[in-house]
């Protein structure tokens, strides 16, 4: 078990390096700062959705409706801005509220009617798709009026100025450092084991190099994209929720053994509805970003994104049967999925082959999940 996990820990970075090397050899522009920045935006979009999916999968449930939901929520905001002339913040807020309500409802249906989430969300997939097309009337709705920038369009076109990006990087590293130091001190004070100093330092060197390097790569193009901040905030929130709150414990417990969880006094129903509510938030954020990224709401926005999100989670070691997975793994999985999709687009791989490759990766990831179970 232990050996397998460490193999998996190594396998993911290796796979990522392999994928990067392959595309870089085929097309050197893959590692150019322009493409890397684009890749980061796409990564933020898939990563945010995958983090929402992660909490659903932890409980052993699934959500197939998020792809259509992403389109629908982005479409609602676009219609409010472009056709109704709402200010962008109000439109985004309204669409956000709609997403939260829809997902809470769906979670309630799953829990109260005891209908398998696979079926409920499969229904959601079709219903949201239909609603989406109704909302945008099968047309293309830009996210802003007359090419004026607004909060909506800026979501994926705003880049932090270089110096602010650097300052933010330093600030984040410092904040993480303080948190880590305090938790280390608290564990010591309670007489609990802490990581050996050597390994702890190595982690921090890797983190500092990674964050600074990321900012510098972005700065070579136009700066750190706003979407990366959204992803970072989401990841931080999900990490805190899953690792440092009772809610997170309950997600793992329900996925590990739902009956035992219920008999341990865990409010299983409330936790499940909560997970779907949070999924709604992730869908809204993803919907805004991906619609803004394509510039307008069209009928294909969000297509098959549920599968990318599930694949990212499973590649990252999240068990489809629930109870196992980590935020770090999901982030890595999302990075691998994004690198694949971005690289294939860059190489102008035909859509047919892209479908096959996506399906192949998903199947491979699930197969590995099953193997790991044994």
């Amino acid at each position: 078990m232990k050996a397998r996990v460490s193999f998996q820990n190594l396998a993911m970075p290796l796979a990522l390096i392999g994928i990067g090397a392959f595309f870089a050899l085929q097309e050197p522009a893959f590692l150019g700062s322009r493409n890397l920045t684009q890749l980061i935006v796409e990564f933020s979009i898939i990563g945010t959705l995958a983090l929402g999916m992660f909490m659903i999968l932890l409980t052993g449930q699934i959500d197939l409706s998020v792809g259509s939901g992403v389109g629908l929520v982005g479409g609602i905001a676009a219609v409010l801005v472009f056709q109704q002339g709402w200010p962008a913040p109000a439109a985004l807020l309204a669409a956000f509220a709609a997403a939260v309500i829809l997902w809470t409802l769906m979670g309630t249906l799953v829990v109260r009617q005891r209908i398998p989430s696979f079926i409920i969300t499969l229904g959601g997939l079709l219903i949201f798709k239909g609603l989406f097309w109704l909302v945008i009337q099968n047309s293309t709705i830009p996210v802003s009026r007359g090419d004026q920038d607004n909060l909506y369009s800026l979501l994926t076109t705003y880049y932090l100025p270089g110096s602010i990006g650097r300052a933010l990087a330093v600030g984040i590293i410092a904040a993480l450092g303080v948190l880590a130091w305090r938790s280390r001190a608290a564990r010591r004070a309670h007489g609990l084991p802490v990581r050996p100093a050597g390994r702890e330092s190595a982690r921090w060197v890797a983190l500092v190099v990674g964050v600074i390097g990321l900012v510098e790569v972005c700065n070579q193009f136009r700066g750190v994209p706003l979407t990366l901040l959204i992803l970072a905030a989401t990841a931080g929130a999900v990490y805190f929720l899953t690792r440092h709150t009772p809610f997170g414990r309950y997600l793992y417990a329900i996925g590990g053994n739902e009956e035992a969880a219920a008999l341990s006094g865990i409010p299983v129903n409330r936790v499940l509805i909560g997970a779907y509510l949070l999924m709604g938030i992730a869908v809204a954020l993803t919907g805004f970003m991906t619609t803004a990224y394509s510039g307008s709401s069209t009928t294909t926005v969000g297509d098959l994104m549920e599968l990318d999100a599930i694949a990212a989670c499973v590649i990252g070691g999240t068990a489809l049967r629930g109870g196992r997975g980590s935020v770090g793994g999901v982030i890595f999985g999302a990075l691998i999925m994004t690198a694949l999709l971005n690289g294939m687009t860059l190489l102008a791989v035909s859509p047919e082959i892209k479908f096959i490759a996506r399906g192949g990766v998903l199947t491979l990831a699930v197969w590995m999940d099953v193997k790991l179970r044994k």
Binding site: L192, H244, T245, P246, N257, G265, I266
Partner: protein
């Protein structure tokens, strides 16, 4: 069959099945030790014994569920040693086992179930006409008026039981093994079943009949073998046996000194009873302690609209007291605990008071906040999140204690509390980060108990707390129970082992078919009385 010359050597010619010195070990437990048993053609041979005496294990050996090589000793069919590797092998030898869980597929028809896996064919197609014709003939043979086309789900439990028997007979089984066949049957269905078994006996089929109901055993069996603690104690001829003798053999063990002397809220008073004047006695009686749990005239049904399964239950538990619940399999003990905890059934009447306050809309969560906690019987299914660590499981019910506003878990504090229990319970594992799924039964039980204790309960309900764990771990559990009562908590103990029940309880209530079959205080305990109350002797009912 008796023409076979081999069978005459060293065996009575009529002996169809025999077991010699069967010993079956599980990790930490010896389930069977040196069991000898024989079955003659055309007899009904009853197996009797308390829960855990080894009856089920013996059947699993006969049925090939525990394959040859996983046990010691020898099984012979018609005098020849056999080595069953699977159920299929046992069936081929003519042994059919019908367990309490039916092996019928509800959505398929009666005929399809009878011919499951061996449907008559015409070429590569199923010959439906032939199947229905043969099924109808078989059913008619049995005097059953069930149309072969109806789905099995539409049948009652008694009819399903008979379908199983029909299927076994069509496989030309010579030995029919029935495990508690009447547990779920109504009186009329029992009569029908017993008639069928007598008819099969007359046709030469041998039958092993396992039942807790001694009146059935005596109405049906030719011989009776009693198992106790995994050993075959005695085989009696029905004609010369009495119910009392069988019960005596079932329980007849010395109650060893396994049970630590325990302090009890009741014992000092009982001691005083003999010498203090009655005027003072009222003051001293522990009854002045308010009951922590009081149940009055409780009726509970399995589900809405069904007749009550638990009927008219009334009892109280006071601080420092151990109330034992005994009874046979299916008497409703686990259901009672699960219902009080808020995880089973639908209350159709009666009241439950926890620490004097009415407790109606029970759920596990509110039970825990009210101070009522359950350590479940099925540890792996209901007790533990197996893939997670020991610490994760220990604190799972008590996370509120470690939650700081707004919702942050104080993990160092949690870890420290886990460590206290980990040490106090002497859980054998490298540390509290070890996976719960990798622990032995006894250590898993300790984790389940630790999880319950961390909630700081007033009433601790223990369902078979020592099932499947070794003697050392048992003793630790008993000491823990004593510790709980010393702290002024109340313990409700459900156990199938009479010695354990008698050794640990201040009072014992025996449940029988969902009702109270008898209530006993410490001085009145005797295995015979308890068992008789549990069987709720049909004649008396």
């Amino acid at each position: 069959m008796s023409a076979d010359p081999q069978s005459a050597i060293g065996n009575r010619p009529s002996e169809i099945l025999s077991a010699h010195a069967l010993t079956k070990r599980f990790p930490g437990v010896v389930a069977l030790s040196g069991v000898a048993f024989d079955l003659r053609a055309g007899e009904i041979h009853a197996l009797c014994g308390e829960n855990g005496a080894g009856k089920s294990t013996l059947i699993k050996l006969l049925a090939g569920i525990h394959p040859h090589g996983s046990y010691e000793g020898e099984l012979r069919v018609e005098g020849r040693p056999v080595a069953f590797q699977s159920i299929r092998d046992a069936e081929a030898a003519g042994i059919a086992v019908i367990t309490q869980e039916f092996a019928l597929i509800d959505e398929l028809s009666v005929a399809e179930n009878i011919f499951l896996g061996r449907a008559p064919r015409r070429g590569w197609r199923v010959d439906w006409l032939e199947m229905h014709r043969r099924a109808a003939a078989l059913l008619a043979d049995f005097g059953l008026s069930i149309p072969p086309e109806v789905p099995v789900r539409t049948l009652g439990i008694g009819q399903k039981q008979l379908i199983e028997i029909v299927r076994a007979m069509d496989k030309h089984s010579r030995v029919l093994v029935l495990d508690e066949p009447t547990a779920a049957l109504t009186g009329q269905e029992v009569v029908v079943l017993l008639d069928h078994l007598r008819r099969l006996r007359a046709q030469g089929t041998a039958c092993i009949y396992i039942s807790h109901k001694l009146d059935e055993v005596f109405a049906l069996a030719d011989r009776i073998t009693v198992l106790r603690d995994g050993a075959s104690i005695v085989t009696l001829d029905r004609a010369s046996a009495t119910v009392g003798a069988v019960i005596k053999h079932m329980v007849g063990r010395e109650i060893t000194d396994l049970f630590p002397k325990r302090w009890s809220a009741l014992s000092p008073t009982r001691f005083q009873d003999e010498r203090t004047p009655s005027s003072q006695r009222l003051e001293d009686k522990p009854l002045h302690l308010e009951p922590l749990l009081a149940v009055h005239a409780l009726n509970v049904a399995r589900a809405h609209g069904e007749p009550p399964f638990l009927r008219d239950l009334s009892f109280e538990v006071r601080p420092g007291e151990v109330l034992g619940f005994g009874g046979l399999m299916g008497a409703g003990r686990t259901e009672l605990l699960m219902h009080l905890f808020g995880a089973w059934g639908r209350r159709t009447g009666g009241t439950v008071l926890v620490r004097g306050a009415a407790y109606d809309d029970a759920s596990p969560r509110t039970s825990i906040t009210r101070g009522l906690v359950l350590a479940t019987e099925d540890r792996r299914r209901y007790g533990l999140v197996l893939p997670q660590s020991i610490g994760f499981n220990l604190s799972l019910s008590s996370l509120a204690q470690f939650t700081r506003p707004p919702a942050r878990l104080d993990q160092p504090a949690e870890h420290r509390r886990n460590q206290q229990l980990f040490d106090a319970l002497r859980i054998k594992a490298p540390d509290q980060d070890a996976r719960a799924g990798g622990l032995s039964g006894g250590n898993q039980q300790k984790v389940v108990l630790g999880k319950a204790l961390m909630t700081e309960p007033a009433v601790v309900m223990l369902d078979e707390p020592t099932r499947g764990i070794d003697v050392g771990a048992k003793l630790e559990v008993y000491e823990l129970v004593n510790q709980l009562t010393r702290d002024g908590r109340a313990v409700i103990l459900v156990s199938s082992e009479l010695p354990e029940l008698m050794g640990m309880s201040d009072r014992i209530i025996m449940l029988s078919h969902g009702r109270i079959g008898g209530e006993f205080t410490r001085g009145e305990f005797s295995p015979e009385k308890l068992l008789a109350a549990a069987m709720g002797r049909r004649e008396a009912a």
